[in-house]
């Protein structure tokens, strides 16, 4: 059984990837780290993602070992620069 998640890309990531979101199917039990590996494994342009990027799951900053569930919104957060 696979786990569909919605990934979001902002700012420099979006410019670089040319997309602001992407639906990804992960294996059951997958974590944030597995999603990062899956994307980086696709090669250019996704291989510019850091191995340990800042990520938010459902609007909360998450650890890499956080497990993902079906329908989760996973955002890749480049270094922030508000204010």
């Amino acid at each position: 059984m696979s786990v569909p998640v919605r990934t979001l890309f902002f700012a420099a990531y979006r410019d670089h990837f040319g997309v602001s979101e992407l639906d990804v199917e992960l294996a059951a039990g997958a974590t944030v780290a597995d999603l990062v590996s899956e994307l980086r494994g696709r090669g250019a342009p996704f291989d510019v993602l850091p191995a340990e990027p800042a990520v938010a799951v459902n609007h909360h900053y998450a650890f890499l070992d956080e497990p993902l569930g079906a329908g989760d919104e996973v955002a890749f957060i480049p270094p922030v620069a508000g204010g």
Partner: protein
């Protein structure tokens, strides 16, 4: 308490008016404004992008944390996104408290936490026509504010 992320022009007087009470001897209003330069390079404007839904939640969490410092719920903060011209306000933070020390501390806390955690990015437009994303801060990864 008032926390909002919006594309609308920020009305600083309105933000200030959201704090203050008869118990409070001090009010403090901080405004972040788009400068005409970055280091030595002339800037013509700035584009702010936001992860809007998350930014709203994080801004509210920051305001709630500041309220703990303040000892009052008199915190109002608005962060703008979209295209901003030089001189326009990007963020307004108003606080009030019985004594001034708490207002200074809470005001500073809000703006420093915004810089660390708020999922907002800015792209500087230079007068020579180039644009670049401003180098930001890597947000501290936590288990989330609900944990």
């Amino acid at each position: 308490m008032y926390a909002r992320v919006s594309t609308e022009v920020i009305d600083a007087v309105d933000v200030l008016a959201r704090v203050g009470s008869e118990q409070d001897g001090a009010s403090l209003l901080f405004l972040g404004v788009v400068r005409n330069h970055a280091d030595e390079r002339p800037v013509s404007g700035m584009r702010y992008d936001a992860y809007e839904e998350m930014a709203s939640e994080v801004l509210r969490a920051i305001a709630e944390e500041a309220a703990q410092t303040l000892g009052t719920d008199r915190v109002a903060v608005v962060h703008r996104f979209g295209e901003l011209a030089v001189g326009e306000v990007s963020v307004a933070v108003a606080v009030s408290s019985p004594h001034r020390a708490e207002s200074y501390e809470a005001s500073r806390y809000v703006i420093e936490e915004i810089k660390k955690r708020l999922p907002v990015w800015k792209k500087e437009h230079y007068t020579d026509g180039e644009s670049t994303w401003v180098e930001g801060q890597i947000p501290p990864v936590t288990t989330g504010s609900e944990a």
